[in-house]
Symmetry: C2
Subunit: 380 residues, 2 copies
């Protein structure tokens, strides 16, 4: 029996159900990032309040602190952080490659130094799976190598290593209750991406991830890559575009057949006083909001917008009150989750494809994207 069922399709976009031991995921879905077993500044109760369904946590960070064995002994990640809905962990690959200059990559694995205390550690596919089994997320990732997308020669080497590592990850897996996804790599080279899509699709996994995007390539390159990769993926497996994205990337991703997204952007923007709105990102620290009695977004149904004025949030920011980050995190995450809820309805009533221009127009001012904006690769 497949874990995934498509319930409606509109051109390449689809909506479906992915079964997990912690409940059904309705796709397409946007996952808030809870790097260190917490979506920064929010309680699980607040996450539920914005209708989050899937939460991502970072293997690299949790391995270093508090340690995956501690999390296992405390009953696993769901119990530890009290998130009793579906969870996903990444493989640690991206963070190892983005957080350390002192790494050494060989065919067997990667040696790296902790960004916390400089101590030396080693990840292999087997180690990554063992850690993820200790953490116990519902969806786990094969260990992969993310290349500089514009370095074709290196992208080929990294892709081939990612393929061997995907096979080893699959072989290393022992828990039947976790869904392992392989990861398509290949930089922005269409031939490599096609080769990787075919290889990863052929593996016996319940889902496929697309890695190595939102890491410095242009938006056009990202969309072109999706146009190459997605048609080569099996219809009956969910497709997860890692570390993406902005509202614009989500709309364009769904239109190209993506089912799962995650991104640190909503919470990171929130901590830097920036809020999604239909008129573009608002920097709430701006003096223009000092006496603005409107909510951040008049069309938003979140606690923040239903309760507080821009003037109050600006005051909290200027007074360096941490509540500002909490309130804007609630709003920004809810904005993307609400966008996803709308998209699912539009797919179900067969109007999504026709609405893409309208949706892109509405959200285009929120579209600016910086290198690595979507992934959790901070040193702090």
């Amino acid at each position: 029996m497949s874990q995934f069922a498509i319930t409606a399709q509109n051109k390449r976009a689809r909506t479906g159900i992915f079964k997990t031991p912690h409940g059904d995921l309705i796709t397409p879905v946007f996952a808030p990032v809870g790097t260190q077993a917490t979506v920064k500044t929010l309680t699980p109760e607040q996450l539920k309040g914005i209708n989050s369904s899937l939460v991502l946590s970072n293997t690299y960070h949790l391995y270093l602190r508090p340690g995956d064995e501690l999390v296992r002994d405390m009953g696993g990640l769901h119990k530890f952080m009290q998130w009793h809905n579906p969870m996903l962990t990444d493989s640690g690959g991206f963070q190892v490659f983005s957080l350390s200059d002192t790494r050494k990559i060989d065919d067997e694995g990667v040696t790296f130094k902790s960004h916390i205390d400089g101590s030396t550690h080693r990840f292999t596919p087997e180690k990554s799976i063992a850690i993820q089994e200790n953490l116990g997320a519902d969806i786990i990732m094969a260990f992969d190598e993310c290349s500089d997308p514009n370095d074709v020669a290196y992208s080929k080497i990294a892709m081939e290593r990612t393929h061997r590592w995907a096979e080893r990850s699959l072989k290393a897996k022992t828990r039947a209750d976790q869904a392992l996804f392989g990861i398509v790599q290949g930089g922005v080279n269409p031939a490599l991406r096609a080769e990787s899509a075919k290889f990863i699709s052929a593996l016996d996994t319940p889902g496929v991830a697309i890695g190595g995007l939102s890491v410095g390539e242009t938006k056009e390159e990202m969309y072109t890559t999706l146009d190459v990769v997605v048609p080569l993926l099996p219809e009956n497996k969910p497709r997860y575009l890692m570390g993406v994205g902005t509202p614009e990337d989500i709309i364009n991703g769904v239109a190209r057949g993506i089912d799962i997204f995650d991104c640190v952007l909503p919470t990171r923007l929130a901590r830097h006083h920036s809020a999604f709105s239909p008129k573009g990102r608002l920097n709430l620290m701006n003096a223009t909001f000092a006496r603005d009695e409107r909510p951040v977004d008049e069309s938003c149904d979140c606690y923040t917008c239903q309760t507080f004025t821009r003037a109050y949030i600006r005051h909290l920011i200027v007074a360096k009150e941490l509540l500002a980050g909490t309130l804007l995190s609630i709003h920004n995450l809810r904005s993307l989750i609400r966008l996803m809820e709308d998209i699912r309805i539009y797919i179900a009533d067969d109007s999504f494809d026709a609405r893409v221009p309208e949706l892109l127009n509405k959200w285009s001012n929120n579209a600016k994207r910086n290198k690595h904006e979507g992934h959790e690769a901070h040193k702090g």
Copy 2:
């Protein structure tokens, strides 16, 4: 018609109802401190969740930022911060005297420099009342001068000025919907305190505050001062002991006839990883809690204790996640509010006085108190 009705009395302790435009306060009551129009890291929803009734905000801070006129124009403090229950503002006196070395005090008022930008400002009794009328709290304070409690000569001068300023504050008041409390001063000198208690009691105010305690005197001096002051206060007015206290101070204060308390201690301790517990304050950063699956306090009914382990909270602290401060603030505030709920029941069933030794024993390990611990006088 009096705003205050005593519903039960047990020796000197009493429980009662104080009517405000934003609802009835059941006394004795502990007020969380929301210095800058926010109880740090908590939403109003979370404050309601721990059964907060009265919240204090600081006139000095709000005058400087965002400005009392802005708060007035945004509909007042209740609407601005979305706290629709009773609120109290202090007079700004304590902060002016504790945050600035460059102040100049004269009989007319105080000139001081902002701790934010060094700009020069002047508070008078009339100005303090005007600011507090703009903020719009239910309970407001007369402008007062807090002396070094051990300097008898200065305490006398400050007390006499406080009396003149109380009369001027009362005269300056224009809003009928706010309850102005006069403040008893006099350091730790019994004769001065008695004189001040009589003077302030004679004013036509719906309540009386006791200032100048928890500012460096010993606990014995504080209790002795209360023993002098409280018997001289009118029975039919609520008595507010400003900036106090620890659980021990609250128990001892109620036993001496105090009705209202406020203190930054619960939230400040929370941000420094410290939690109230029946076994004394726990420093949750301690490695001993790394694998501790118990809640912070097994007897506590708060969201934090009902949901998370000490191990998880320690992880958040070590990983520098702000959620730790939120969760411990919820617990620490709930601890004092729950203590107050218990105390009210004990007064009503006439058992409080007999239970004081048991209560003090339970909470004595939480009793250490530092200079200025209870008041909001930080520079940040």
